[in-house]
């Protein structure tokens, strides 16, 4: 089983919303953020993430765990904001009462931002002077540990089926359902990376070999594949894979 975010290959979606210019030609121009609230939802998510109370995999899992009707109805940054709100509550950075108080205030027009002098910054708070340094460092997921990868380039492998997350029913995974139970070929080995299926649930980083695996379109979509020559490549962790035939 899977969740709504795992939409690769599904039917029913219409035309790509490709931006076009006045002459109806495809244009590359699009503002970075269409509305100010998009920019704010994005920026407060990054800034709150920098408090260190959760990792990237946890924040992804929170977006994925939005109720299906919300996941479908929310626009992109609404999903970000809803997941952030749930995280802030669960991690007790804010309380539900505080949230309700601020929601009423914004709806009544009585919302007040304190003056900077009245705000005491938390010691974890991400400061503007550190922004470029932190962005430049990023959040590396490679772990320098001594694991010998089981598979070699060119090996035929088959992916896990049904529920790749072996610890948690409905848990986070990065094996999309369209590529479950399919046979592919190891294209490359990309070092050992933090394993999201565990890291998203506070079960440790468990770094594991990460491979790029190539699947023929016909293996994924059968005889009706657009072209028998095309392929799809996915980055998959070793626990998702078994040697084929096994």
């Amino acid at each position: 089983m899977s969740r709504l975010h795992d939409m690769g290959g599904r039917y029913g979606d219409g035309l790509i919303p490709v931006p076009r210019d006045g002459e109806n030609e495809v244009t590359n121009f699009e503002p970075t953020f269409k509305y100010e609230w998009h920019a704010k939802a994005w920026a407060i998510t990054l800034a709150a993430g920098a408090l260190g109370e959760w990792n990237l995999d946890i924040s992804r899992h929170y977006r994925e765990c939005l109720p299906p009707k919300d996941y479908v109805n929310f626009s992109y940054y609404e999903k970000w904001l809803a997941a952030l709100t749930n995280l802030l509550i669960d991690k007790e950075l804010i309380s539900l009462n505080e949230l309700k108080e601020y929601v009423s205030a914004v709806e009544n027009g009585t919302l007040k931002k304190f003056s900077d002098n009245d705000i005491k910054l938390d010691q974890r708070t991400w400061l503007a002077k550190d922004v470029q340094k932190t962005l430049g460092w990023g959040g590396p997921s490679v772990r320098d540990i001594d694991i010998i990868p089981v598979f070699n380039i060119g090996d035929k492998v088959i992916t896990e089926n049904y529920s790749p997350n072996k610890d948690i029913s409905g848990g986070h995974t990065r094996l999309p359902k369209y590529a479950m139970g399919r046979v592919g070929v190891i294209h490359s080995y990309n070092n050992n990376h933090v394993f999201p299926d565990k890291n998203a649930h506070g079960l440790g980083e468990n770094p594991s070999p990460l491979y790029t695996v190539e699947f023929k379109s016909s293996e994924l979509w059968g005889e009706l594949a657009e072209s028998q020559n095309d392929s799809v490549l996915l980055d998959l962790w070793e626990p998702y894979l078994k040697l084929f035939p096994h």
């Binding site: 975010h5 939409m7 690769g8 290959g9 029913g12 979606d13 035309l15 790509i16 919303p17 931006p19 495809v26 590359n28 699009e30 970075t32 609230w37 704010k40 920026a43 407060i44 800034a47 709150a48 959760w54 946890i58 992804r60 609404e78 904001l81 709100t85 749930n86 802030l88 669960d90 505080e98 949230l99 309700k100 601020y102 929601v103 205030a105 919302l111 007040k112 938390d122 708070t125 991400w126 400061l127 503007a128 922004v131 470029q132 932190t134 430049g136 990023g138 997921s141 948690i168 409905g170 369209y178 990309n190 506070g202 994924l220 657009e226 072209s227 095309d230 799809v232 490549l233 980055d235």
Partner: protein, 213 residues
């Protein structure tokens, strides 16, 4: 509740879904959460400004275009880029968040590469900035792996049936950049002139570089 939730379960957090208490207008929703976090000192407004300014004005597809143009004029750089893209891109001082592990895939007359993230919206920020709306759309995420040729047609890019398409689904923390083919008739152009031809879509695989008039 004295102990923080440890997120042990797939669905065990916020059964009453705190987000359902938010106002219906998304603008007010953001305002409420932002102001609460600011007043509690958990975020700093100067940090928000710095972040937004960085990605609106400093980090974007121009970075990627410089990488591509350099690879077009400098065969040694291109070699380094295809072997270890992260280091080669760092030579131009582009690095960090959402570009920690870069891979560059080269278009040739036989192979056309396209990048997608079916599970969320993974995208190489240091070289392309924040993804455009279409890249994050359900339509692009769902269809590109199954019918890339129809998708590319919608971008005005009909592909010869003989050309093989490789779709790269960014399911982990590797971020991909397409190295498009250098347009014909550009032999006399220098690196900065060439960079002007490199469009964002050409580095995702949904477009080609601009042709010279």
């Amino acid at each position: 509740m004295s102990e923080k939730k440890n997120i042990a379960g797939g669905d065990n957090h916020s059964h009453d879904h705190a987000h359902s208490h938010l106002p219906s207008d998304p603008e007010l929703r953001v305002k409420a959460v932002e102001t609460l976090l600011l007043n509690k000192g958990l975020i700093d407004s100067k940090t928000l400004d710095e972040l937004i300014d960085t990605y609106e004005n400093r980090i974007g597809p121009k970075n990627g275009a410089n990488v591509v143009a350099k690879a077009w004029v400098d065969p040694e750089y291109k070699k380094r880029l295809l072997i270890d893209a992260t280091s080669a891109i760092r030579e131009l001082s582009y690095q960090g968040r959402q570009g920690e592990n870069m891979v560059v895939v080269e278009n040739t007359p036989e192979i056309h590469n396209v990048i997608v993230c079916t599970l969320c919206s993974c995208y190489p920020w240091p070289v392309l900035g924040i993804p455009p709306t279409w890249y994050k759309s359900d339509e692009y995420r769902s269809r590109t792996v199954r019918e890339p040729r129809k998708v590319l047609l919608e971008f005005g890019l009909p592909l010869d049936p003989k050309v093989q398409i490789k779709v790269w689904d960014s399911t982990a923390e590797i971020r991909y950049l397409v190295l498009p083919m250098r347009p014909e008739g550009t032999e006399n152009m220098n690196e900065s002139e060439l960079a002007e031809l490199v469009t964002r879509n050409s580095m995702i695989g949904t477009g080609l570089p601009k042709e010279i008039k």
